[in-house]
Amino acid sequence: METGKQGMTRRDFLKRNMIVVAALALLSSPLKSFADIFRRQPRKPNVSGKEARYYRTLAG
């Protein structure tokens, strides 16, 4: 049924919004990098691996 309202093609949508889309794409990359600087990195455990004394290997 015709409504009198013209529909938008995908091409038209992209054309109209390309500037916004492009701007968002450009901004998101440095924003992400910026956020990464402040995001807390998981702490690497500071443990040793020195061989202990007083143990024995079990046979079998």
Partner: protein, 327 residues
Amino acid sequence: MAKGDFVQCELCPRECVLDEGQKGNCKVRANKDGKVITLVYGKPCAVHVDPIEKKPLYHFYPASSAFSIATAGCNLHCKFCQNWDISQANPEETNNLDLPPEEVVRKAIAYKCKSIAYTYSDPAVFFEYAVDTAKIGRKAGVKSVFITAGYLSPKPIDELCSVVDAIKIDFKGITEEFYNNVCLAHLQPVLDAMKAIKQRNVWLELVNLVLPTLNDKKDDIARLIDWVVVNLGADVPLHFSKFWPQYQLKNLPPTPEETLDMAWQMAKKRGVHYAYVGNIPAHDGNNTYCPKCVKLLIKRIGYDVMENNIVGGRCKFCNQAIPGIWG
């Protein structure tokens, strides 16, 4: 030794059997490629300078400072632990410094500490780190004191006694039931450890943390005192300390002062020459008295030494020899 071998740790009476990658009960020893490794060698999570009286050691260089270190982990799991946040932690969870043994000694000297104290959690579980540090410290003229529950096997105790200058043991209770239920351990290895240390002539002091309803029965305290006098002698200082509720025993009240007074008086009556009350500043039980002439030898308020009448290791009033390491 190869990856896939089972190993058995022989440091403490638990004698944990470990599969590849598995950690022991203490959380700081593991099986890696068929060898037991210590996860905390040179990795303390607590470092502080304390008065020696805080350990508490009352007959060891009074008024001196102890460079105090601890790592994560413990081979007991006492429900009343005052340092549970590190003793019951995995070493991966604590903020650990890099402080190798030689650096510990350097810092102890820099901070003018007479001794290094291995303390807070339990140095039984960072045994290698403590022993290696003590050896270097001895060569540099720095003493070492080991503050422990005493849950170690005989051979490590023997090695320990050859490198440290004083040991303080938490003699937590006189019943197997108490050690089982409250500490998740056993009594006998601790009794054996105390006797072994006494035989090796290392300076020894004991602390009993008095816990309302758990180890404060008059009969139990009497038996504990008698065990000390008979097996270790009247000259081993015995401290009764006030408990402040925390960790898994917040339901208990703090130890009443009357209970500590009772224990202290009982100890003196039953032959302990040097009985003390701890965690109550300005209590008369903070002080050292001559067992012969009863004069005040060392007056303490909390950790501070206000007066010292021991000269050349003797009472300055009656010349009685006072056991201890006085400097």
